[in-house]
């Protein structure tokens, strides 16, 4: 992909990711946030946290399945936007919904499973956001960094649980989000299994061939 293409792509992500905030701002201005504005704002921010989180988690599977390389360059941006929306979502809960009633909120975090997992998901996103810079990747080393950033899947699972546990009977969209996450996780697991299998076959082939004719194992030794 060309440099111009990358800029265009990232600009699009910025615009799409900020559009919900602009819409919320417009609805605040026009007093059009339903009869329960606080609940509406909290839910909208939560929806977009989840959408952006799933979008960032979809980038690697896209490469695996479709073979596209460029989506991976959007993963960090989408992940950081998900974190941004999660902070706003949590911030509204603290400031607007409960107005700094710390004891009440602490009790809710401890007692309500959907809040417990939500807060845990947000907490897990913090180290991921902090280590999202190129400098941090270098400092941690690629292997450690990748291991740490597998937490993104844990936050995905927790965020989905948060939604499943708070959604009321009769609602359905939470299952759609859950199905998407299961699909994305499934692709990753399938990919890991496939690669392990390939590696084992290769190792097996190499060792069998090698035993019969030691000289043929030469190239692998060089590697």
């Amino acid at each position: 992909m060309t440099a111009r293409g990358r800029v265009l792509l990232k600009t699009t992500v910025w615009l799409v990711a900020l559009a919900p905030l602009v819409a919320l701002g417009y609805w605040i201005w026009t007093d059009d946030l339903t009869a329960n504005p606080i609940s509406f704002i909290t839910n909208t921010l939560g929806d977009w946290t989840l959408r952006l989180l799933l979008a960032s988690l979809a980038m690697t599977p896209l490469r695996i399945v479709v073979g596209l390389g460029w989506p991976i360059t959007l993963r960090r941006l989408l992940g950081l936007f998900a974190f941004f929306y999660a902070l706003l979502h949590f911030g509204v809960w603290i400031v607007v919904d409960h107005f700094f009633a710390w004891r009440e909120m602490a009790a809710d975090i401890a007692k309500r499973p959907y809040i417990t997992v939500g807060v845990t998901a947000l907490t897990l996103l913090i180290p991921l956001a902090v280590t999202s810079t190129a400098g941090m990747i270098r400092r941690l080393g690629g292997r450690n960094w990748r291991r740490l950033h597998r937490l993104a899947y844990a936050t995905g699972v927790l965020a989905i649980l948060h939604f499943l546990w708070l959604a009321k009977v009769g609602r359905k969209d939470q299952y759609v989000y859950a199905a998407i996450l299961v699909g994305l996780l499934g692709i990753r697991i399938w990919d890991v299994a496939r690669r392990r299998l390939l590696a084992r076959r290769r190792a097996l082939a190499v060792s069998t061939v090698g035993a019969m004719s030691p000289r043929l194992s030469g190239p692998t030794d060089i590697c």
């Binding site: 059009d32 339903t34 329960n36 309500r112 009321k168 009977v169």
Partner: protein
């Protein structure tokens, strides 16, 4: 809960929806001008308001808090027959036909009878009562209802000594209630018809209101037209809407939400800040139109009048 005190607002102050609709129309028009650059104001006309319904204010049942805006009370509703979203009822309620309408009152009664809605409207004098409405989801409203005590209707059909509970059935008609249509993804919802119930002494309590209108008008479809009950000391879902059948029975009715999630919604479902919903606290509520949460009161502020109904009962067990 403040009752039996001088009204703090005139009934003319209740209905401010005209103003808010004007503002909304103005905003939509302003947006159209901004977006389209045109001077034509493309304001959508407000939905036709229901007909006025005359009633005498009953100062004995007048909550001192200011009533919720009419616009909020008619656009932010839980009425699952139209859909699970709060705006579904207001958007989709046009399919409900509240006339003609009849209500069968039957079961363990000496004089079962099917009433026409017009006949029921004249059974007793219509009163206006301003009640608090607490939703189990943690929000509340203040609504001026129009109706008369449910007890008046029950007396007319003469419950037998075997009658211990009252069952309310909401209309089941997929043509009028879109969410009752069977879809592929109908799993895990409510069973239709929506059935609610009260103990007979609860139903006979003077606070339990057989309701035909609100805000000086006939009930809008999305609020349970043409006839519903309002049981202000219980969570909102106990107050069945668009009722077609009232049955007097001897066993505790199997109610809709109790069947759907029995650990979350008990038969009694009295408003109780001490007994949390399994998933969230019931200690506070957001009054629609207010910014800060306010503490939830036992029995929604009606403890003086109804607590005696539950004397000796463990309200944690009978939630």
């Amino acid at each position: 809960m403040l009752i039996r005190q001088a009204p703090r607002f005139r009934s003319s102050e209740i209905t401010d929806e005209a103003l808010s609709l004007n503002r909304r129309a103005f905003m939509i028009g302003a947006a159209a001008v901004l977006v389209g650059g045109s001077t034509a104001v493309a304001a959508t006309p407000p939905a036709k308001d229901p007909a006025p319904l005359a009633a005498t204010p009953n100062p004995g049942y007048r909550l001192a808090d200011p009533p919720t805006k009419y616009e909020s009370a008619t656009t932010y509703n839980n009425f699952y027959e139209f859909g699970v979203n709060k705006d579904d009822p207001a958007r989709l309620a046009g399919t409900l036909r509240p006339r003609p309408w009849s209500i069968a009152v039957e079961g363990l009664v000496a004089k079962p009878k099917t009433f026409d809605i017009e006949e029921l409207l004249k059974l007793a004098a219509l009163e206006e009562r301003v009640y608090a409405l607490r939703c189990v989801e943690g929000w509340s409203m203040v609504i001026p209802w129009i109706g008369y005590p449910l007890a008046a209707l029950l007396k007319r059909v003469e419950p037998t000594s075997a009658a211990k509970y009252v069952e309310f059935h909401t209309l089941k008609d997929p043509e009028q209630f879109p969410a009752q249509r069977k879809g592929i993804f109908n799993l895990g919802g409510l069973d239709w018809p929506y059935v609610e119930g009260l103990r007979l002494d609860e139903a006979q309590h003077p606070l339990a209101l057989l309701t035909f209108g609100m805000y000086g008008r006939v009930l809008p479809n999305q609020n349970g037209a043409p006839i519903r009950v309002v049981v202000p000391w219980k969570y909102g879902f106990k107050s069945a809407k668009s009722i077609v059948r009232i049955r007097l029975v001897s066993e505790e009715p199997k109610t809709a939400w109790n069947k759907a999630a029995s650990s979350e919604y008990g038969f009694y479902s009295n408003v109780n800040p001490q007994v949390d919903h399994p998933r969230w606290s019931q200690a506070t509520e957001r009054r629609i139109g207010e910014f800060r949460r306010r503490p939830t009161l036992p029995f929604n502020g009606y403890a003086d009048q109804v607590a005696s109904l539950y004397a000796g009962m463990d309200l944690r067990k009978f939630y």
